[in-house]
Symmetry: C2
Subunit: 448 residues, 2 copies
């Protein structure tokens, strides 16, 4: 069905400067919006045909939201009635050649005047291929759907198992990484355990379901304030989540988690939310990549590569205030995308450019029903219900698309008043790469 | 991850009569609801963990609705707070042994007092394995998601193809089967072509997108009235759908559709909605199966097998009014499920049983925005906007679950006023069994 050798990028020639954007995340989307007009031809490449609101991905994994609530097709955002001379191509970029100003893709090359790398991050397994093979990532819509089916299948099987040790392993969920993803996922699982699962599986004893949250540093939510970390720890603790601080995972073979120091836990499910690294595109000079990210100046220009830019999570901009770069959240990407659009417009008019200055709007994390933490500008630290309402408001505000806001809001209200999650459908038979039983599974337990 | 050898059905012993229901479709669900009480232990097996509202499946395929809008988890419907002594097991039934009153599953056997086969239908390829391998079915949620990704990938590729012949093949969609599924899918595709796709793909000429609807008989919607067929033909025609009546497909290799008579169409996508056959469970005596269905008496009892029942689409009940059996729609299944529950209760009290009499509430099909056809009792035949409103009302009414109704209604209203479908996300890399390019696809175009 795929006709790779017959495909070409098929992008019209233009006399306008061509901006190529690699990646439709927060950075790429905001850049595109602001570039719209008559000045440029804009070309976007992504291997997904949608922009995702990743801060809510954990809700897809825990059956609270469906994918369409947190993702918006790129072509829908930038349809021909919205932006002219915009060209989306659902294809993988293989490398960039700054010498010839060319972007190379699987199906052909294209010249650029400006290229913006906005590829974000990918999971970092720190070289541990065994963990990569056997764990569940939570970076994409498909990951979240896999994880949802995995959770539900674990409960279905725990309900039918004879051997108590295997049952316990099916009911042990180990989340590695105490950042926002790990914390929010742990909280959502704990709420499922309390409000949903005992009714769904009356034959199972959910006192035996364990949620482990494993963090290598000495506090949860390390990117946030110590106050937020402390509150979060208390909330998680109260919700019955087993928190292991200063703990590193050494190995996981799909059945046994081994921590550094030797302690072991049997678990059928390990979620890897322990780290990310920049999804750097090939072809850049070695000296422009540092610690897996692309070094950029205050205008997001890649050092030593004229016309090449990087924004958002894949970029590393060292400033006096942020000597190690900006936090890996949506706001720097959004703000850099918007500013870069302005600067590119200035550039073609030979106007002077504006340096990027990060405006910190604060950070938020949700732990459960009525419970969240917020660090706001001016050293304000909120907790509890007030932070939760702030969290709701901010997330609804930033969600793309009117329809998504409506669907998410109605889902949340429904959930809030009924304690009932939306959907618990097992629709993905493939669960993880290292799953040796998956062929057997498809044959015998096939669901399609 | 799957521990087949360690699993057991794990269903508690009981002194009450045990009713085993195979299948959570319209029949099984309604039977369960009415059986609830203190009289029986009810055990349900299904290979899906949800009940689907299949009449709306085509809307999932055409990116109008998400799966959770048309599917409800069985455990959510029959949670421990709703029904006691109900046991759902997400496992495949392999056969039934009427001699020993045993249901056999992949992970163990279980005795029954009554067993009800409510397995519905499966696609019928009339022995043509080539078509089975290369075509897309539309029977399950996963089929609909596959088909949605296929549609979108065809447009993405058509937008990037050099060769005009291959482009045309990507833009040819052949729907085989002019029943409700085929008609409704064709209508929804035509609406996408008119309202959505030209904005999403400004580079593509959608006058060249062809939707073929192929039917072996001499009219579309053969189960409905001639009036409905005639109106539907007119509507489809006006929407630019190419209808081929009295036409049979001889072969399809994934690229070329060959009709009986020799005519050929190049098409990357063929949807098989041409026929179904009963999903008969193994182990029944040969004489109780006729034309792929299970012969039952007026009480839905399987002839010659005491304690074995079949309801809905898998059952064949010949009556004076319906000498060839009842229509393959939801209503006979619902009504048989409800009546069988009553009769089983009567049976254990030694009361006399009630014969099944089908109450025809009418049939409906939707062709597009504002256009539907309805055959109502009393020989009333509606068309156009009135039938469309009836269709909306009936489908919302019958949709399971308050939340689903809300989501579907808000989606429809949104779509009605904006001409905008909800979601066009490509989330399934595997498209069909015979797709030789799929490994290549995953490697090169992988989306997860």
């Amino acid at each position: 069905m795929l006709e790779i050798d017959k495909l070409s990028l098929n992008i019209p020639d233009t006399t306008k400067p061509r901006v190529i954007i690699v990646g439709g995340g927060f950075g790429g989307i905001n850049l595109t919006k602001k570039l719209a007009g008559k000045d440029f031809q804009v070309v976007m490449f992504d291997i997904q045909n949608y922009h995702g609101f990743w801060p809510l991905l954990y809700q897809v994994a825990t059956a609270g939201l469906e994918p369409d609530s947190i993702a918006e097709p790129i072509r829908k955002m930038f349809g021909s009635d919205e932006i002219e001379d915009f060209h989306f191509r659902h294809v993988r970029v293989t490398s960039i050649d700054p010498a010839t100003k060319t972007v190379k893709t699987l199906i052909g090359d294209i010249k650029y005047d400006y290229v913006v790398i906005a590829t974000g991050t990918k999971s970092n397994y720190f070289g541990n291929d065994q963990i990569k093979l056997n764990s569940f990532p939570l970076k994409r819509v498909t990951d979240a759907l896999n994880l949802r089916s995995q959770f539900l299948q674990c409960f279905e099987q725990a309900n039918m198992i004879i051997d108590p040790e295997t049952r316990q392993s099916l009911l042990n969920f180990v989340i590695v990484g105490g950042g926002p993803t790990g914390v929010e996922l742990a909280g959502a699982l704990a709420e499922m355990r309390k409000y949903i699962l005992p009714t769904d599986y009356p034959g199972l004893d959910f006192n035996k379901m364990n949620i482990y949250l494993v963090e290598g540093l000495d506090r949860v939510l390390p990117p946030m304030s110590p106050q937020a970390s402390e509150k979060t720890y208390k909330y998680l603790n109260k919700m019955g989540i087993q928190i292991r601080l200063n703990t590193l995972v050494e190995s996981y073979d799909g059945h046994t988690v081994t921590f550094k120091g030797g302690e072991q836990i049997k678990a059928h499910t390990l979620i890897w939310a322990a780290g990310v690294t920049g999804a750097v595109v090939d072809g850049l000079p070695v000296q422009s990549v540092e610690r897996g990210k692309i070094l950029v100046d205050r205008y997001n220009g890649v050092l030593g590569c004229e016309g090449v830019y990087a924004i958002g999570d894949v970029a590393l901009m060292k400033t006096d205030k942020y000597p190690k770069g900006h936090p890996g959240v949506a706001q720097p990407a959004i703000q850099q995308g918007k500013l870069l659009a302005k600067n590119l417009k200035r550039k073609i008019r030979n106007e002077s450019l504006e340096e990027f200055e990060y405006f910190d709007k604060g950070s938020l994390a949700i732990i459960g029903r009525n419970r969240a933490v917020a660090d706001l500008p001016g050293n304000i630290h909120l907790g509890g219900f007030l932070a939760w309402v702030t969290w709701l408001f901010v997330h609804i505000m930033y969600l793309i698309g009117f329809r998504n806001k409506l669907v998410v809001l109605s889902n949340w209200l429904y959930k809030f008043f009924t304690y009932e999650n939306g959907t618990r459908l097992i629709i993905r038979p493939f669960v993880r790469k290292g799953d040796r039983a998956s062929e057997d599974f498809i044959e015998k337990f096939r669901i399609e």
